[in-house]
Amino acid sequence: MTTATDELHHDDHHHDHKPSGIMRWLLTTNHKDISSLYLWFAFIMFLVGGAMAMVIRAELFQPGLQIVEPDFFNQMTTVHGLIMVFGAVMPAFTGLANWMVPLMIGAPDMALPRMNNWSFWILPFAFAILLSSLFMEGGGPNFGWTFYAPLSTTYSNDSTALFVFSVHIMGASSIMGAINVIVTILNMRAPGMTLMKMPLFVWTWLITAFLLIAVMPVLAGAVTMVLTDKYFGTSFFDAAGGGDPVMFQHIFWFFGHPEVYIMILPAFGIISQIVPTFSRKKLFGYASMVYATASIALLSFVVWAHHMFTTGMPLFGELFFMIATMLISVPTGVKVFNWVATMWRGAISFEMPMMFSLAFIVLFTIGGLSGLMLAITPVDFQYHDTYFVVAHFHYVLVTGAVFSIMAAAYYWLPKWTGKMYDTTLAQWHFWCSLISVNLLFFPMHFVGLAGMPRRIPDYALQFADFNKWISIGGFAFGLSQLIFLALLIKACRKQGEPVSDQVWEGAEGLEWEVPSPAPYHTFETPPVVK
């Protein structure tokens, strides 16, 4: 057995001509290598962004100003948001797409392998620029990840230019990554893999990639206008020149709302892969899942101003954006219903991917429902810019997007490494995360409804008790991720029980037909899908 694997491995190596050591990773065009880079990069950024959240929670542990300067607090909220959105969640999904899409559709690699390398390697440089700007004289960006004008123009410090160009690079990376995914899916499917036979993770990524290509350039336009407003005397966002700061918000959120679906649609795809496997049933309502994803994506282009109800716009606008936003809960509800219906009378087993998926379904739905509350214009006047909003989007992004990424990691890790992960550590990771994340974010609903504003380093005394518990939850959640780090390191060292090719008893799809661990090159001749 050992000799056989050794031989196979040797043979494999002989075939690939991959450089060894660091050069392998710098020059690689292999989708699995690039994906592993993406995933590790995302995880490191998750820890870095998390560390910044710890600073925020430490400052908010007690009322009053004690640990950091208010301006540094602002830099922390800003860079935490930017890192988590562009450095952690998006690269993690791109990484998962890189690993799994070619395996799921029976393609030999991504369609454009060299560009794939480029779109990854520009990312660490972009974040190096962003992070180093924190150490500049005058500090880093401090205007919130939404960089509203005039905070980012008239009142910002000189790190803004570096911020703008690093966002340009992040955008270029996302666009290239998305073009690669979309072309891979449309052009590289194995014979017989018709569109309506594609696994849902592939479908959701196809639609996500479309959203990315459509809105990342708009973000590039927005940062460009901020740059010229600040340094070249234009007045896009300055009323004195005929522009309007509100216009910034329109342009930004035209990008920003589809962006939140960019961060959740792949999550829907992951959950739609995992729930059927561990329920040992076919996914309920496959076609309706596809149509629901597509309608969410289309609707996402006409709801952006729900972030701006209190900014002010004509009454017709307020009504239109309220109703359009609430419409989105219909296709989202279809999805939640389908997941539950898939589990209904299934032979469910509770392995770790399923545990995270179940947590996702419950907790994401909480985030979805608070989103529905925020969509109602008149009550949003009360909720706007309070911790209720923070609670809402963290339920959607942490217990939504991040939990789905963890579910995906547990689901596919054995396929990547050929070994089962450490299930004891996984249990610890799950339960610690689950309890702490709710301690962290659930009380934010209460303090938010009671009027505690977000992005402020101090608060009124009546919020002290809740904030203490929120901070304790925050530290606990942060520490829980170190358990995950330990588990990942063990997994990458290939410790653990060997797994079969199928790995999970109920798993179906092409990715479970290749050996575990998946060889360096897969599907060089396309499989035939019946």
């Binding site: 001509h17 050069m23 392998r24 020059l27 065009t29 292999n30 030999p108 690699d109 454009l112 392998p113 060299r114 560009m115 390398n117 480029w118 390697w121 520009i122 440089f125 972009a126 190096a128 620029i129 000189d158 230019a161 570096l162 703008v164 160009f165 690093s166 340009h168 690079i169 270029a172 073009i179 979309i182 072309v183 052009n187 014979p191 290509i213 459509a214 809105v215 350039p217 708009v218 336009g221 460009t224 206008m225 740059l227 340094y231 070249f232 005397g233 234009t234 007045s235 896009f236 009323a239 004195a240 020149g241 005929g242 522009g243 309007d244 216009m247 329109h250 342009i251 035209f254 001749t525």
Partner: protein
């Protein structure tokens, strides 16, 4: 359909160019980020030098990457499926460029339809008007801003109209070049392609003339309020794209002289011509929205 033949998809082993390109972008971003600050605060040259250094690396990378690419293409390593990948990739790239322009067209639309009339009290903004700039008058082009900056509006007759005609004709000549390529008529291909390049260069020349005229005689500048902002940002980014497109056409011309491209092997040519048509369509929208109306 039966007995379909699968040619192996060409997955390049490994390549130094992407990482070189990543380093290039790093230097360019750091350089540009420092340079714009130095413009404002007085320059010590660090930003500009870093930017230029990055641009140099990027040039090396582009030359190297495309050289590899052309070599592989000419030695027949690219199959039909890869060709489709390239074409689809190019189409999506152009779509992303369209969306980039949409951001600026959107800004122009918003300023004209909302922010300028609102500053003059339209809709329910009477108080805004009374409190901020009670003498402000809404107009488009906005030749007097609320803050008092004045400028002149660029008419559409003359240079802009000539440029529109030039670019429209160049779209046709580019298409004729492609038709000639398909027919294998190399002489006509060279002629039409050369003609397209000349038209592109004339367009750029006239555009520069227009800018000089605007800055020196009309007082229309990038910082002349929202009209000048949208005027220069839209025509400027468009001009940048025309420059890029012309450069691509020139590369294609030299490749044609070397005997490259045929009915079966013409991705680069096709991509360039798509890009050229895209630049043309953007100009037509721009001509009507920025100049005429």
């Amino acid at each position: 359909m039966s007995e379909q033949q699968y040619e192996k998809y060409y997955v390049p082993a490994s390549s130094p160019w992407p990482i070189v390109g990543a380093v290039a972008l790093f230097f360019m971003a750091v350089g540009a980020g420092n340079w714009v600050v130095e413009i404002k605060n007085g320059s010590d040259g660090f930003g500009l030098h870093t930017l230029a250094f990055g641009a140099l690396i990027l040039t090396v990378m582009l030359v190297g990457w495309f050289k590899d690419q052309i070599h592989e293409s000419m030695t027949g390593m690219h199959g039909d499926q890869l060709g489709r990948s390239y074409r689809q990739g190019m189409a999506w790239f152009i779509f992303s460029e369209v969306m980039f322009f949409c951001a600026f067209f959107g800004a122009l639309f918003y300023a004209r339809v909302f922010s300028v009339p609102w500053l003059a009290g339209a809709s329910n903004n009477a108080e805004t008007f009374n409190v901020l700039w009670p003498t402000f008058e809404a107009m488009w082009p906005l030749t007097t801003t609320p803050g008092g900056t004045t400028t002149e509006a660029m008419g559409w007759m003359g240079l802009p109209l000539y440029n529109t005609i030039i670019l429209l004709i160049s779209s046709f000549t580019c298409h004729f070049a492609h038709v000639a390529l398909e027919k294998g008529d190399r002489a006509k291909l060279k002629a039409w392609l050369g003609f397209t390049i000349v038209l592109g260069l004339i367009f750029l020349f006239l555009q520069v003339e227009e800018y000089i005229h605007a800055y020196q005689e009309m007082g229309l500048r990038l910082d002349s309020g929202i009209y000048g902002n949208t005027f220069f940002m839209l025509t400027g980014f468009h001009g940048f794209h025309v420059t890029l497109g012309t450069f691509m056409l020139i590369v294609m011309f030299f490749r044609v002289l070397k005997g490259h491209f045929s009915h079966d092997n013409q991705f680069a040519f096709q991509a360039t011509s798509w890009y050229w048509h895209f630049v043309d369509v953007v100009w037509v929208c721009l001509f009507f929205v920025v100049y005429v109306f």
